[in-house]
């Protein structure tokens, strides 16, 4: 009898507390900077071409074989504008297979691939699973729009400079008009950008 009454005090106590619900579709929790949604490719604004050279390193390292990569000769290299001898030709990632293990980011020698760290990487539901196979343009789209959150591991990690933190997202801001790598976006800017970003196809 006493235990039963004690249980009632628990429920009545929580009735008085503030609810913890976040009303998801209208209200987004801020995702952390190191969020790993799905891999996307990064765009080199200095030369106006992707970072990716199509070297197949990520394709070989992928545990679930969700990537298809082909490379071609870089026309910008022939013109002398770029240092990349080869450039990515076609790149497909099957998000339906991807298990988001971050290995492709770790093995990339050119820091050309990163994990999408915005909400757009999570809201991907489609009616046809073929739409989850993204091609090169779709993979580069987010980076071209500069919608990724800046993750600056130098500010985040403390004295442990010997460790090997993963820096690729910091690349996003490394252009003139975007904030420099050392200055992460403010929260207000971030949330504004999040809301502006349309859902991924």
């Amino acid at each position: 009898m006493i235990g039963v009454l004690k249980s009632l005090t628990a429920t009545m106590g929580t009735f008085m507390r503030k609810p913890v619900t976040i009303q998801y579709p209208t209200e987004h929790r801020k995702v952390p900077e190191r969020e790993r949604a799905f891999p996307i490719l990064l765009w080199d604004f200095n030369i106006d071409e992707p970072f990716c050279t199509g070297c197949h390193a990520c394709e070989r390292a992928c545990p679930v074989e969700c990537m298809t990569v082909t490379m071609r000769d870089n026309p910008l290299f022939a013109e002398g504008k770029s240092k990349r001898r080869k450039i990515i030709d076609e790149f497909y990632i099957d998000y339906g297979r991807c298990m988001r293990c971050n290995i492709c980011v770790e093995v990339c020698n050119f820091d050309a691939i990163a994990m999408n760290n915005t909400w757009s990487g999570h809201e991907l539901s489609t009616v046809d699973r073929k739409e989850l196979i993204l091609d090169l343009d779709q993979l580069l789209d987010l980076s071209k729009r500069k919608d990724l959150q800046a993750w600056d591991p130098a500010a985040e990690t403390r004295a442990s400079t010997e460790g090997r933190p993963q820096p690729p997202i910091a690349q996003v801001g490394a252009t003139e008009d975007a904030p420099a790598a050392g200055e992460p976006l403010t929260v207000a800017e971030r949330s504004a950008e999040e809301q502006d970003s349309p859902p991924t196809p």
């Binding site: 009632l8 429920t11 929580t14 009735f15 503030k18 609810p19 619900t21």
Partner: protein, 388 residues
């Protein structure tokens, strides 16, 4: 509407038309109440669980019940190929109609119910017991083992808990000296029956939860065991009749009954002096509303807190604790009412005996469920062998 109000104030008119209008009013009020109750329960339980509850449909989710109703009514009505056609189709109505019939005898205000029956209490108890037949019909007709198990459980549970329910209201009717609900209410103008008879009040609350198959007594439909029990094969409109109408109309009816019989109904704090003249029914309605809301919220709080009992524990609780104490209450009531004439001594005696019985029942329950204390458990933990 004018006609209805005409009927409300007791102006003579055609008996059949009067009855028809009153029935219509009850049907409308019941439907609205059921929808409101569904919303209230979802919000209330949501807050207990530190959630918000429905928020999307309408402001603060107020239209959630409407959306649910539209969804359920337009859903495909499935029937298993091997089901017994007639029993399967009829079972929801057999479950629902008795619940609706109990509403007909309830005096919601002074002189206003659908019908004022001389044996109103008896009628309500008798009619509400028919519900179990619907459960058994559905369980048998569904051709599903979960449904069958649930039907057998409900047969045991609902019939058993009918008896404590009868004993509880019987004790009160002895005090009132009548089975007419109006008389019982009028008798409570100074002291509500819940004070005179706390033990029957508690028994009524418990038995009501069991009769309505609400947690913690939802054994027939316990979804983690028999996945919905008799109703496992129902969907769409038939399921909404069972779930929404039966469950919540029953909850409402029983809460109103409890507030009338035990909490003094529209009579208790203010009496029937009529200080608003013709508009007395407004405060009477508000009183009944407040009291029944209190009972409903209490039941919802209990539902949201406790785990489900097991069927044998539930039956043991009924037959070994509620039933003997209910009988004892009636016997003591008889003695008290027979030998004490003065109203004051009678009330004191009733309160004292019933309170003493309540304490005794709590103690017996404690003895039956006594567990090793926390300290003993800690001691056993310390004494546990470290390695074999």
């Amino acid at each position: 509407m004018a006609l209805v109000l005409w009927g409300l104030f007791g102006v003579d008119m055609n008996v059949w038309l009067d009855a028809f209008l009153r029935l219509q009013l009850i049907v409308i009020v019941m439907t609205v109440t059921v929808m409101a109750l569904i919303y209230v329960e979802r919000k209330f339980v949501g807050r207990i669980q530190m959630r918000l509850g429905p928020m999307r449909t309408g402001p603060y989710g107020t239209l959630q019940s409407v959306a649910d109703a539209v969804k359920l009514l337009t859903k495909e009505d499935l029937r298993p190929a091997t089901a017994d056609f007639w029993l399967f189709e009829l079972a929801p109505y057999v479950t629902f109609v008795p619940v609706f019939m109990t509403l007909l005898a309830l005096p919601f205000m002074e002189d206003w119910g659908v019908r004022d029956l001389q044996l109103g209490l008896f009628y309500i108890v008798a009619v509400s017991g028919v519900t179990v037949i619907g459960y058994i019909m559905a369980g048998w007709a569904s051709d599903n083992k979960y449904a069958l198990l649930g039907a057998v459980r409900s047969a045991a549970q609902l019939i058993s808990y009918e008896i404590p329910l009868i004993l509880a209201v019987l004790a009160v009717s002895m005090v009132a000296g009548s089975l007419n609900l109006n008389d019982i209410i009028l008798q409570q103008d100074t002291i509500p029956n819940a004070l005179l008879q706390p033990l029957p009040f508690l028994i009524l609350l418990t038995a009501t939860l069991a009769e309505l198959s609400r947690r913690p007594f939802d054994i027939p439909i316990g979804e983690s065991e028999v996945v919905g029990g008799p109703w496992v094969e129902y969907s769409g409109i038939r399921w909404s009749i069972i779930f929404a109408l039966t469950e919540y109309a029953g909850l409402w009816g029983m809460a109103v009954l409890g507030s009338l019989v035990f909490l003094g109904g529209w009579e208790f704090p203010f009496g029937t002096s009529g200080f608003w003249g013709d508009f007395d029914f407004l405060y009477q309605m508000a009183l009944v509303f407040a009291k029944s809301s209190f009972l409903i919220l209490t039941m919802m709080l209990i539902s949201a807190t406790f785990p489900r009992l097991r069927i044998d524990q539930l039956m043991a609780f009924c037959w070994k604790i509620l039933l003997p104490f209910g009988f004892l209450q009636i016997v003591i009531n008889g003695i008290v009412l027979m030998y004490l004439d003065s109203e004051v001594t009678r009330d004191i005696a009733l309160f004292a005996t019933s309170g003493a019985l309540l304490v005794a029942m709590a103690y017996v329950t404690y003895l039956a469920t006594r567990q090793p204390s926390r300290e003993a458990r800690v001691a056993a933990m310390v004494a546990a062998r470290s390695i074999q």
